[in-house]
Subunit: 283 residues, 2 copies
């Protein structure tokens, strides 16, 4: 893989660029972005070797699409139109159903691999890119059987080189479960941040009282709205389901407090404590 094109050189695209270049020093990493400033920054940070445009994709051995998921749905058919027959296109979106759907009948569907690397931080843009982000992280691959075998092989070699663990899943299951273990956490964090910031707007000193527990629970409220709004939009039905259940659980907890049933409050917490064992499996 000599000519590699990264569309969207932010946290995920930029971090992939660093690791791919490390394991393929002979590759030329081309960056593509709507914003010239992003490409300038990516060049300055040595994430990419060259700037490029969509027209250049005719030369692509590999294309990584790491842009907001609404942009991926719009652009993916055009990207597949342009790549050569030997080219592999991989998207890194946090939703998979709408993205797989939009190319299901594309004549070059076999050139496409749908993935979701479970890796990231709350930061965004080229400056958020870091080396080794994917080591030991899970990479969910959807509809692997629809990708040409030779291109699957290339992709798996690449993922192995940068240290990812592979899990296969269908797009519907991905979107349903990721709503629970990722999308809901983001909403919980944004709304927790909003609740506290609204309340304490005029009492900035109060944040002196906040410790690492608060910081941990609201960390995701720093995430990019450009990235997350289309995720919630594409995964609307599943996310609303998780929100209903979360709100019901919070309301039940509040009702127990209002009725002074602190034995039940204790049991609610004790029963959730075993999440320790689950979390011990997560980096």
């Amino acid at each position: 893989m000599k000519n590699i094109y990264i569309i969207g050189v932010g946290l995920i695209g930029g971090s992939l660029a660093i690791d791919i270049k490390k394991h393929n020093p002979e590759a030329i990493i081309h960056g593509i972005s709507r914003k010239e400033a992003t490409l300038d920054q990516a060049l300055a940070l040595n994430l990419i070797d060259k700037k490029a445009t969509l027209e250049d994709l005719v030369h692509a051995d590999l294309v990584i699409v790491s842009i907001p998921v609404d942009a991926t749905v719009k652009l993916l058919p055009t990207i597949l139109d342009k790549v050569p027959d030997s080219g592999l296109v991989i998207d890194a979106g946090s939703t998979k159903e709408a993205i797989c759907k939009v190319v299901e009948n594309h004549p070059k569907r076999r050139n496409f691999l749908a993935m979701h690397p479970i890796a990231g931080t709350e930061y965004s843009g080229p400056s958020a890119a870091i080396a080794g982000l994917f080591v030991g992280k899970t990479n969910i691959i959807c509809e692997v059987e629809k990708t040409a075998f030779k291109l699957q092989e290339q992709a798996l070699n690449l993922f192995a080189a940068i240290g990812m663990r592979i899990r296969y899943m269908n797009p519907e299951s991905h979107d349903k479960h990721i709503a629970y273990v990722s999308h809901l956490s983001h909403i919980s964090s944004f709304m927790l941040g909003k609740t506290v910031v609204d309340k304490e707007r005029n009492e900035r000193d109060i944040f002196d009282m906040a410790g690492s527990g608060f910081a941990s629970t609201v960390r995701l409220a720093k995430s990019s709205p450009e990235m997350w709004t289309p995720i919630f939009q594409q995964n609307k039905t599943n996310v609303i389901e998780t929100l209903n259940e979360y709100i019901n659980n919070l309301t039940h907890f509040k009702t127990l407090m209002e009725s002074d049933d602190f034995e039940a409050i204790f049991n609610e917490m004790r029963n959730t404590n075993h999440i320790k064992e689950i979390l011990n499996g997560i980096n």
Copy 2:
């Protein structure tokens, strides 16, 4: 301060024991606990030098009370009864109103200092104790004017030695604001953990999909129910207020999603993003 008694040798008491001993090598650290096994563990971990009982407090130069806040309310008057006139008693509870209230008319009120060190982890018990836990952390002191001046001075020297930043506050303000920046985070985290664990109970593989974002938002769900139930009980009114606001914000977010108002969803997140600057001030 030669004879120091730590009542409750867990995360906070044990960590204080380590740091106090480091800065006062001549001190003898006595441990007191309901459970013999806890004291054995604390001795084995070198957190304490000796086991003791409440009867021994007649020899105390300093007593640290770091037990669940319901136990503090019950025990604090007895502890004050026993200490000598020169003894300083400090509690480390996460609520302050009920604790200050129970000793407001105690003849030895001037021997007591109410504090809340904003430090900790999600772990508990002697094995959770760590050196340097308090470096750079905020220590909230309530009703400082009610403590004898000489004892205030001793306490402040101790806090300075172990690296804490001091903030003064009245107990009512403490309990009101800490509900937002600490207690609500714990409930949010416990209920998020419950929502996901309940849903995915039969699909353990799903946790392979969980990344650092999920881990961060549910980390506090590992916290001790023994410690947290009485905190919620003592701070019931404030905690219910924060829960109402949090549930309203989540419900509003859900309503925006249901009505496909993703522009408003975007703005909700954008407006909360500035929590970045606030969090940058927290370790």
